[in-house]
Every structure is written in structure tokens, then in C-alpha cells.
Subunit: 449 residues, 2 copies
């Protein structure tokens, strides 16, 4: 993409309304524009990140055997009366009347609707296990929305729902999602630690939150340092097999948020030199809640004896619009964002240092073609402006690599390549520049891990 033809209205000044660094950087880098309290438009640069996050989530959900569908944003109130949640849910639920004065709502979550889809279509235990998911906009009318899309009212969420004949089978479904989540966060360059959690209004008796470690995180986190070195399940992990050992690796050692911490336990279970006290951000939660919805809503199947039994369910959420700022909280510096390659809006900033110089322009044009042909995603800064502003923009929007092309380097047939994260700069010959980048970028895409 040529920057001269792109829409990237970066801000020079830091917006005052933004209280946390990810919100400031998302506004400054022209990823977001606020449209009303807790309502945001995702500008082109932000939308590219959101889509990459979505792709990774979909790939890992599909791999784990979950099947994608799409439910509408609006729901009839009657469905929520069946589960009893229409009255139980407070003012966070956005209630709407249509032109015929029928009660509707903007879905804050989808347990009821997916249960109704299940009960209309599945009759036999032979069709289980089943895990259905969707990625759809949801709405929670927070009284005081803040922190940008970290806590917006309209938000994009992946929610999966599993259906099983028994609790034992349901726990296997839970493990599949648990493993998929570990892989999902890892592929986005995050260190995420599962922690036992309260189940809240979703219900049930088994739940984990996944907490991303970030110095600027919203809540305190206590855990065993050894947890961070646990192995991530590999790409070819057998989701039909026994996943217990992975779950055990990630849940045996002590880990808790400040809400749940038992200090005595933390100090007795974790040797002093392995005690980590850090900050974290919740980026997902998984629940097993048994028959909480299937029983009142009549979601039953015939078991092997022909007996009708309510199915055991779980639900598994990841907030995509929350994950994007969480990645920024975990990865930035004073100059701006530092994207992991796997979720970067573009992988490389190609910077023409001297606009108007014919050799620089034609070399850049040639490199741009070569890089795109090599499958590298390039944002080519071909604008007619000084080098300082180009460097500042490239650092701010945080593309993982920069290729800097100027007259001095070209005299030696060289370009400079900068690693945004480490700051390392390397002079590379024109002939080797594309290969140099491919060697670094391809593994960092984490597509084959």
C-alpha cells in the first residue's frame, strides 16, 4: 500500500480524554475514532489488526473442531425470558422496541440463542460432541465506558458454545478450548496465563480467565515464574486425543489475580525466587456450566438408552476489540506501538528518505514490487515530505520492520533495515534486502508453530 493513497490521519498531539497508553496510541496512530461514548469506528490501520486477530482466532477454533456460524446482533426478548435472564440482567442490557412494539435486545452474549439453535436441530447423543462459535458485535451498556475499546459498549467477541452428553465429555470440550486459547494468544505474541475465575452471571462451577501480562495492566497478578515456561501445545496437537496433560501443566502451579489471591497459599506453594507479582489484563474466559441453560430451555438429546437428557454446556469467550489494546499495552515504548509480526497491520514500512530524488524513488518503486511479490505486507511511505515525519509515523504505528532508502546508502548499493522492537539497524545490500527480511519475518508470523 502506498501511503500517499492510504487513509492514515495520525495525530501529532496526544488526545486528553485517553487515560491509558493503548487508548492514546490507538487514537494517535489513527486506528480508532470515537463516534459516541463507548462507540468506535475502526479506521483502516486498526481494522487490519482486528482482522488479523480474527483470522488467528478462527484458525485455532477451527483446528480445535469448533464450527463457525453467525447469529444476529438483535435478539427477541422472549428467548431471554425462557432462561430467566431477561429480568435478571440489569441496565447493561440494551433493550429495544421495534415498530410493532415487540421487545428486543442487543445481545450482550448468546447462551440463549445458541441453545435454541441446538434444541431445534439436535436430537441424538450421536451428534455430540458439538461446538459452535461465532464472531459478532455485542453491546453492554456500561455506565461509564472508558479506556477506548478495552471497555467499549459495542464490542466484537468470539463466543463458542459446547454441547456434550455428560460432564466428563464436557470437560474434554473445555480442554479443547483451553488448548486452543493457549495457542491463540501465543500466536499473537502474548504471554497469557490461565487463572481460576469466578463464573459470575454466566453460571457454572468451572472457569478460567486468561490474563495477559503487561506492565500497564488493569489488575495485579500473582504467579509462579515457572508457569511462563510451560510448553505451548504444537500446531499438530491431537484434539481428538487426551489433552489433560497440557491443561495440567498450565493449571497446577499457583496463579491468581488480586481478587482471588490467597497470600498464604501463594507463599507456601511458590518458592520465594519464583514468585512473580505483575500486572495483567483479562483477554478471555472459559466456562463449564452444565445444564444451567439446557434444563430450563429444554435442550435435550436421546441418550444410548433412548432417555431424554439435558446436555452439558460450556461457553468460551475472547473479546477481539479488547485484545487489540491488550496487545499494545503489552508491547509499546515511548515512540509508539511495537506490533508482533503476526498481528501487525503491515509487516514493513518502506521509507523513501528523499522525496523528489529520482534514484531514491525508482529504487523504492522497484523494492516495493519485489517485496510485495515476496509476500511481505508493505506500507510504502512515498509521501512528499521530510524524513523526520516519516520516521516518527513509522515508529508510532509500530510496523515490525523499517526499510530506509536514502541517497547516501544507495551510493554503496545499500539500504538500512531497522528492527522496531530492538532498535537494531543493519545495512544490507539491495540484492540481499528481500531475503534478509524474509528470514526474519516468516518465522515471526508464527503460522507454523
Amino acid at each position: 500500500m502506498r501511503l500517499s493513497k492510504y487513509f492514515l490521519p495520525v495525530l501529532k498531539e496526544t488526545p486528553k480524554e485517553a487515560e491509558i497508553v493503548s487508548h492514546r496510541l490507538m487514537l494517535r496512530a489513527a486506528m480508532l475514532k470515537q463516534e459516541a461514548s463507548g462507540l468506535y469506528a475502526w479506521l483502516p490501520l486498526g481494522y487490519r489488526v482486528l482482522r488479523k486477530v480474527q483470522n488467528i482466532i478462527e484458525q485455532e477454533q477451527d483446528r480445535a473442531g469448533a464450527i463457525e456460524l453467525l447469529m444476529p446482533t438483535l435478539q427477541p426478548a422472549d428467548l431471554w425470558r425462557e432462561s430467566g435472564r431477561y429480568d435478571a440482567y440489569g441496565k447493561e442490557m440494551l433493550r429495544i422496541q421495534d415498530r410493532h412494539e415487540r421487545d428486543m435486545l442487543y445481545g450482550p452474549t448468546n447462551e440463549e440463542m445458541i441453545t435454541s439453535i441446538f434444541r431445534s436441530n439436535v436430537k441424538s447423543y450421536k451428534d455430540l460432541p458439538l461446538n459452535l462459535y461465532h464472531i459478532q458485535w455485542k453491546f453492554r451498556d456500561e455506565i461509564r465506558p472508558r479506556f477506548g475499546t478495552m471497555r467499549s459498549r459495542e464490542f466484537l467477541m468470539k463466543d463458542a458454545y459446547s454441547f456434550d452428553l455428560t460432564k466428563e465429555e464436557a470437560v474434554k470440550s473445555y480442554h479443547r478450548m483451553f488448548v486452543a486459547y493457549l495457542r491463540t494468544y501465543y500466536r499473537m505474541g502474548l504471554t497469557a496465563v490461565p487463572m481460576q475465575a469466578e463464573t459470575g452471571p454466566i453460571g457454572g462451577d468451572l472457569s478460567h480467565e486468561f490474563i495477559v501480562l503487561a506492565d500497564t495492566g488493569e489488575s495485579g497478578v500473582f504467579c509462579d515464574k515457572a508457569l511462563l515456561d510451560q510448553p505451548i501445545p504444537p500446531k499438530d496437537v491431537d484434539f481428538d486425543g487426551d489433552l489433560t496433560s497440557y491443561v495440567r501443566d498450565w493449571t497446577t502451579m499457583y496463579a491468581a489475580t488480586e481478587d482471588m489471591i490467597d497470600m498464604d497459599k501463594f507463599q507456601s506453594e511458590v518458592p520465594e525466587d519464583r514468585r512473580i507479582e505483575a500486572r495483567g489484563i483479562e483477554v478471555g474466559q472459559v466456562f463449564y456450566f452444565g445444564t444451567k441453560y439446557s434444563e430450563p430451555m429444554g435442550a435435550t438429546v436421546a441418550d444410548a438408552n433412548g432417555q431424554e437428557v439435558p446436555v452439558h454446556m460450556g461457553s468460551y469467550g475472547i473479546g477481539l476489540t479488547r485484545l487489540v489494546p491488550a496487545i499494545i499495552e503489552a508491547s509499546h515504548d515511548d515512540d509508539g506501538i511495537i506490533w508482533p509480526v503476526s498481528v501487525a497491520p503491515f509487516e514493513l514500512a518502506l521509507i523513501n528518505l528523499k522525496a523528489g530524488d529520482e534514484e531514491c524513488a525508482s529504487t523504492c518503486d522497484g523494492l516495493y514490487k519485489q517485496l510485495e511479490n515476496a509476500g511481505i505486507e508493505v506500507l510504502y511511505d512515498d509521501r512528499d515530505m521530510g524524513a523526520g515525519g516519516k520516521f516518527a509515523t513509522a515508529d508510532l504505528i509500530g510496523l515490525p520492520y523499517q526499510m530506509i532508502v536514502g541517497p547516501r546508502g544507495l551510493k554503496n548499493n545499500e539500504v538500512e533495515i531497522k528492527n522496531r522492537k530492538t532498535g537494531e539497524r543493519t545495512n544490507v545490500s539491495l540484492e540481499q534486502a528481500v531475503d534478509f527480511l524474509l528470514e526474519r519475518i516468516v518465522p515471526e508470523r508464527r503460522q507454523d508453530v
Copy 2:
């Protein structure tokens, strides 16, 4: 995908509430489930089609230079008060109050919001032309929603908005979208004819509807037969160049819907043997509306003389959730849907004729792997049931090719390949089966046209 692990609850009986064939087939083929009047969940098979339609639209929009972003579904009412449309829009607009009693609405379209994004960020003519688009759920509270997703209340739409300094430049932007639309429909296997249209509540003085020809279409269409043979602009069409000749090719010959038909003109301009009277479905509309929104909303740029002038705008819509049933209306038979390869949920049904037969199962398992490795999207019917039900399902859901594997064929080392559209059946040796399919499927994907 193994059908035994998929979620495909096809219906045996035709739902009575469905009045048109696409609605009947989408329900029977388990593409859709109605959740309330005019609200639908897209079940897995339907969702795959919707995503393929989305991919093609995005590719062609990007190619034409439009830039993707994403605006929220809900909008503040104040924005619509600026353009005067908050009061002008009738009961089709779903009006909402949040917990703080602020007036909001579920966006039926986005001219106001995109204009506000533009005016906050673009100040100079040097940043033009600009075309921004998004694909987002919208809501129109139709008094009597019907025909499934052909006329649903919550619907998915691509809407693009162009911004230019002058009318002349705006017409060039209009032409770019016009050409992108011709390519978009063609790639989906559709014959779409642009016809002059009323501009309605969007406003403006230049507009075309794109009408797909289908025997079961909602409205009558009159056009010159020669129109249907006009060339589709090729993949490498130069969007920076002059596109007038393509637009001329597609707009010079007579074409009109029954609402706009001038019979005298039709008969005088079109030789009798080239007069087509057919049925059609509207699947997109493009508008140039000048400064209708930019003027009241203050969306101006400085021109070359430093003068502030309101920008000239256009908007360009395609309803994705309408396009899917339109494709079915244009391509089905008594047995079910006939998908063009480019939008088919899967490209091939692999049918094991004799469940329980060890040789059939192991041959199918091997073919399934080979086909997937060759990049063919396969739905593998590995269920333990009779052949009749499998054939009926494959025909109903309309995958373009079927590969039928049974004991009799295997004795001769052969499988049978059926073309769903022509009904043609060919016996092919096991060794040649994958190549046989690739030769047919790859060009039908229309990725390189």
C-alpha cells in the same frame, strides 16, 4: 470437513412460511434459521457462502482503490440531526435510548458517519480522491419482512463512500466502483445488468442499479440482448486510467426495470430479435449525490487556491445477505441449489456409497487427504447411512461436484464424478481423479479473470 463432525441439520420438509425458492432452499439446506421476524442466524453452511461473497467483494473493492474500515452498528442521533435525516427517516429507522436516555439508532446506512470521519481528518484537496468502505450489519425496520434474507431487517451490506474535489473527479470515482461491481458479480457467476435508477432517499442525480437476471426475480426487466455479451473488465484493468469505455459499453444499450420502462423507447431502440423481457433482482446500487451531505455537515477541503469547498460524494452499496439468495434464485433446480464454484460452501461432495465397507472407507479417507492437499474444499459424507439420503443431501446443498465412491467402481479402480449443474457423470480412475477435478474447478473459481 467430515460431515459426521459437521453441523448440517437439513430439513426433509419444505417450510411453509417460505414464499420464494431461495428462502425455501436456504432453510432446507440448513443455511439459515429464523430467530424473529426479519432476523436470521446464518448456520455454518450459509455462513461459508456469506464469507466467500464477502471475500470477493473485498478483493474487488481493494483492487479499485477503496480502503476498508469499520464503523459501529449503533450511531448517535445527533449526527443524523445534522443532515436533517433523523426526522426525515420514517419508522424504518430503529431508534434506541441508552441508559442515560441519549438518542441513538441502529444504522440503516452510513452517509452521515463517514462524512464526520472525513471532515475530522481530511483538510486538503491533495488527499483526494478518497474512497472508504465497510462491510457491517445494518437494520431497517421493514413493516413486513419476508423472503428470508432477501428482505430481512438486520442485513449485511458493503457500503463505500467516495470523496472528490469536483464533479468531474467524482464521476471517475463512480466509474471505478461501476467497473468493480461488474467484476464482482461476474466472479460470483452472475449476469448482472446495470440500469439507470431513481436515487430515492439517498439523493443525487446519477445512479445505477445492478440487476441479476433470474427467472424467479421480483421485478420485470427489459433490455437489449447484446448487453449480455458486453466484455467484463479484466483483472488487470487500470483503475487509475480512463474507464469511460467500459461504462459506455454497459450503459448505452437500452435496459430498464418495469418501474422505469419507456416502451416506445425500448421498441424503437432495440431491434425486435434482441428484445429481452426477463425477471431480475436488484443486488446493488451506486449513487453520485454531489454535496448533499458535505454541505450541511461542513465536509470541506482547501482547493489549490486555498479556498474551502464542499467535497463531491458518492455512495456504493451491495447487500451481501441479499446477494446469497439472489445467487440461488439464479441457479437452482428441483433437487436444490447449484452453486457456482466461486461462492460454493465447499467445492466437492465426497460420497462414500457404502458405509461400513472397509475398502470404500479407506479409499475415501485417502482421497479426502489427497483432495485437501490439492487445495480442493471437500465436504466428506462419511456418515453411516444409505446412499439415497447422501445423494439427496449433496444435490440439495448444491456443491458443484460430487465424487462418488462405491464397491462396484472400486473393482475397476474407478470413482464416479458428477457435475451438479449439467448432471454429467464421468468414471475416472483413482489415479486421475484429483487432476480431473482440478482441471475443472480451478478455472471456475474465477480468481484470475
